[in-house]
Point group: C2
Chain length 204, copies 2
């Protein structure tokens, strides 16, 4: 996929992190189960509370029987471009875990832990020539119902993965937006000390 | 830091992901603000809902005025080893974001997005010779109060970062546990189709 040379990061920052971005133009390539699994294998290595590994990834490849169903839960805007992806993934978590004493308790970090695993998934995609685009824009209730999730599971995110395609394949209104997003400066996001030591605290 | 050659991953999986693990033995090295900032610079490049970047990282380096305070919110078990780390980080999120129409709305993915950013932080640490250990074991109420977080912010995780130390420096009960954790097989975590197509669905 195309990289993101215009992004300004410290020279120490891993190039893979800066080069990963979320295009919407996909080439409608096919993806094999083996290739999909190679992405999830990477996701496994995220840390989680008590190594509970709350993440579950349910996916549909384009052309399979479940594809249209998975696509239908996205908001129409996301359907308009994600329909050309190779695979759609819903990131689900098990909300409870076994405590060290063997009790079933709610995990305070199940969503957070899933985000970490999905980050590895997306980096692995970038590293192996796939592009991934995460979406919060889906009908959560429809996804929970459609995936037939039992109690104790939650859906966090949908991810479209494919080979990056030509920007001209996108709906016209989206073509100008097809570029890596920038980030806030470091000083806004991290500082030594408590809240009032940061920029929002100083302003407030 | 020591790597994790005993972990079994697909040969395609990025080595950095498999080699990252969460030791508890730290060498009590000092860390400069520049080095801390180089880790957070990496974290910035995570994706987030509407690029809202909800993550805020508040940190204390060992020996500074805020260090003891940051350490005190950890559960005693975590204090017993994290006291030798170089820096303690609390991962905080802004729970609301601006919608595309400019309205302040709750973000459905603020915790998930923070987990992604913290994953990059930890990978960057591994890549540059630092070790990081994430903890859900802290007193959330004490941390919220101690960090003086206003409404609309939540604490998700604490992370101890330092140079990996000798296992003999750990409290005796922890020495045998000082090794990379394993992961569930891929088939438990990812599958094509809805919930009932997976192993838990088949079993239920």
């Amino acid at each position: 996929m195309t990289l993101a040379p215009e992004r300004k990061a410290l020279p120490t920052t891993q190039k893979l992190f800066v080069d990963r971005w979320s295009p919407r133009a996909f080439s409608s390539a096919e993806i094999s189960v083996e290739e999909v699994e190679s992405l999830f294998d990477a996701a496994r290595w995220a840390p989680s509370a008590y190594n509970s590994q709350p993440w579950r990834f349910m996916y549909a490849r384009r052309g399979t029987a479940v594809w249209e169903k998975f696509l239908s839960w996205l908001v129409p805007f996301n359907q308009s471009w994600a329909s050309q992806a190779s695979v759609l993934v819903y990131v689900v978590s098990e909300t409870h875990m076994l405590s060290p004493s063997g009790e079933k308790v709610i995990s305070s970090t199940h969503a957070y832990d899933c985000g970490a695993a999905a980050m590895l998934l997306q980096l692995q995609a970038t590293a192996t020539g796939w592009a991934a685009h995460s979406m919060s824009g889906f009908d959560n209730e429809a996804a929970v119902k459609g995936l037939a999730l039992p109690e104790g599971y939650a859906v966090h995110c949908a991810i479209a993965i494919g080979r990056q395609g030509n920007v001209q394949n996108l709906p016209e209104g989206l073509q100008a937006r097809e570029k890596p997003s920038d980030r806030s400066p470091l000083s806004v996001l991290a500082w030594e000390g408590v809240f009032s030591d940061g920029p929002s605290g100083a302003a407030g």
